[in-house]
Amino acid sequence: MAGIAIIFHFSSSPLSNHIMASNSTRSFDAIVIGSGISGGWAAKELTGKGLKVLLLERGRNIEHIKDYVNALRPPWKTPHRGRNTVAAKAAHPVLRRAYVLNEGNPDYWVDETESPYVEKKPFDWFRGYQVGGRSLMWGRQSYRWSDLDFEANSRQGIAIDWPIRYSEIAPWYDHAERFAGISGTKEGLPQLPDGQFLPGMELNVVEKDVAARIKKHFNDSRRLIIARVANITEPHEGRVNCQYRNKCWLGCPFGAYFSTQSSTLPAAVKTGNLTLRPFSIVTRLLYDRDRKRAGGVEVLDAETNATYEFKAKIVFVCASTLNSAWVLMNSATDVWPGGLGSSSGELGHNIMDHHFRAGASGRVEGFTDKIVYGRRPTGFYIPRFRNLTDEGRGYLRGFGYQGGASRQSWTREIAELEVGAPLKEALREPGEWHIGMSAFGEILPYHDNRITLDHARKDKWGLPVLAMDCKIRDNEMKMRADMMNDAAEMLEAAGVKDVRKNDSGYTFGEGIHEMGSARMGHDPKTSVLNSHNQVWDAKNVFVTDGSCMVSTSCVNPSLTYMALTARAAAFAVDELKRGNL
């Protein structure tokens, strides 16, 4: 193991001198709230254009490599082998609801007792309060939207129109992919545009066979491809390529997947223009009603409870979807009781996510002379094929599948085997191949799906908490039937045996793709942000994380946040130069 250290990703950050050591400097060109995927991109882009940037993060610092404390821990050093203890479950009443609570990286997740929220309806909110946010633990699936997505609201009369189209964001997808490093294959599919890819990872032998059979059976109208992921398959931007350990969410010592720490933060630090301040809870934007601008932010130090004001010419709000709305709701309340951006009546509304956990699985005969070497940190993807031309399935929009094939491991049941040597020896060998897939479906933007501030309930710092009131409706429920049945249909068409359908249920927020709350639009009367992510009511405030989304597509959203953030940052700097901010 000692030899590994020499090929670890060498971080370009010179120790930690970008961390704010005193509070003496109070004025910056730009302030970025939040250091996750969107905030990291904002910091990189703005510092890269010469702005002095203060990057605020409410949680602790996590240093690249050094603080990935479990990244190299072998299974036998993990006391409960990844299983949760009764005590861990009791301490994490929300996280315990899903796989996210895990012995491997409990420190990457929010302390729920410090930061509660109210579930008017069941809502899973899985947060990462630390430098890097959820960029440390994300699934890394990275897909472009298409005009099928950007035009859907307008064409179908749902909510409001997106103020941008694919042609406007495409160059920014290029930019984001080139820097972040997205591996994938070019497919020429209009609903899933190709990008600037590093070589895609490999489908395994069974996935290739199933892909070929699906392609043939459905005349190429359905396609099984390798997932496009922010794992680099070649050395890239000073980072080491993926080593196929499949331990991404513990933090990668090779820097082989995109995170704030591996990618945007070192780039921002390198400019010499970045100051990072962890433990900084932004309580409000300081709104100047005469200038109709934010003059800066108020920060509550999470460790000392002291408050500070920091000034800047522009503010990027990238606190993650629901928390960005929280910051806006708490700002300029003397002008608008509902907060900055509430003049539209849309702030906190139109909350979306992706619903999932419906699909199918089955057993694959044959291929017993084949096995997989290496632990690929992703699976296959089946791009959306439903309602591409409004064919009418009784619901709007569509879904895509994520899945994988593998041989069974020692966890399998071998009912006919006697315990003792026969069982032991059988479990030492791989079992049969199985394949499974689960769909991720679009959730429509419903005005009534909303979050509000609950002033009766306070967090550890005495701040009001969010109350969630969201549910999926008929459109999503109808879609789930196809999500399950189409998966089974494809597996059966591919010759898979013992195909079993499943719908394991979905709770709002569980997709961890929270979107909406401060949507973009053409009109300040119906939207919080304009087409450049500027708050209509304070043009030097930009909201570029999932809050800005007008609809959800069915593809994973993070790459779109990267592109929108970079686009907004370029616009902001141009506007600053023009004297418009």
Binding site: H80, R83, N84, N102, T368, D369, I371, T411, S438
Partner: protein, 206 residues
């Protein structure tokens, strides 16, 4: 964002089939809590070691006892099972010891290997795991009382088998001797040759 969800999703899909060792430990369908947490003394650990070693014995590579299975099971029961599950396990363990002594006139620890194995295989046939179904309702909650409570003897045996397999194949012996373990594969080959009898690569990563 979806973190490790792809892995979880695939696991969920694949686990629809029958498994002994799931991502969550076997949760009992007990109606009510009873008793306090199980306390394991050295005798209990020794018994659990022998039970584990009967399920996964020494062959060409060491078995479960060498991997410290008794201590592991005791820790998992104490840390990961609810008080009522612990009580169910402890009661099942006590009943097992009693039944064994009644049948063979001596303790399991002192028993003859062939008799121990035969007895556990009787239990194995009687207490097969049922295919694991996808859970309905809120995840992370204890399963609703179903009215189909399983007897303590069944719960004990299934938990014993699950924890033995889990503990063994994630131990250093299990990973590196029973299976093939590579911390840093460095590459991926989705079409590698496999010959019957070759041991599997360790792939369960959490």
């Amino acid at each position: 964002m979806d973190m490790n969800r792809r892995q979880a999703v695939i696991k969920m899909a694949l686990l629809m089939g029958a498994t002994v060792v799931g991502p969550r430990l076997l949760a009992a369908e007990f109606g009510s809590g009873r008793g306090s947490s199980a306390r394991f003394g050295t005798d209990d650990i020794a018994l659990l070691d022998e039970l584990g070693d009967t399920i996964i014995p020494d062959t060409d590579v060491p078995g479960a006892k060498a991997a410290g299975i008794g201590e592991f099971i005791a820790m998992m029961v104490n840390d990961c099972l609810t008080p009522s599950e612990q009580a169910g396990f402890a009661d099942g363990l006590a009943g097992f010891s009693k039944d064994y002594r009644k049948r063979f006139g001596e303790s399991f620890v002192a028993g003859k290997p062939a008799e121990r194995l035969a007895f556990l295989n009787e239990l194995n046939r009687r207490n097969q795991h049922r295919p694991r179904q996808a859970r309905r309702g809120r995840r992370g909650e204890e399963p609703a009382v179903s009215g189909r409570e399983i007897p303590n003897s069944t719960y004990f045996f299934r938990t014993l088998k699950e924890l033995t397999i889990l503990g063994y194949f994630t131990s250093e012996i299990g990973c590196t001797q029973a299976l093939r373990f590579v911390e840093v594969p460095g590459r991926y080959d989705g079409n590698a040759d496999y010959r019957p009898g070759e041991h599997n690569w360790f792939t369960e990563v959490r």
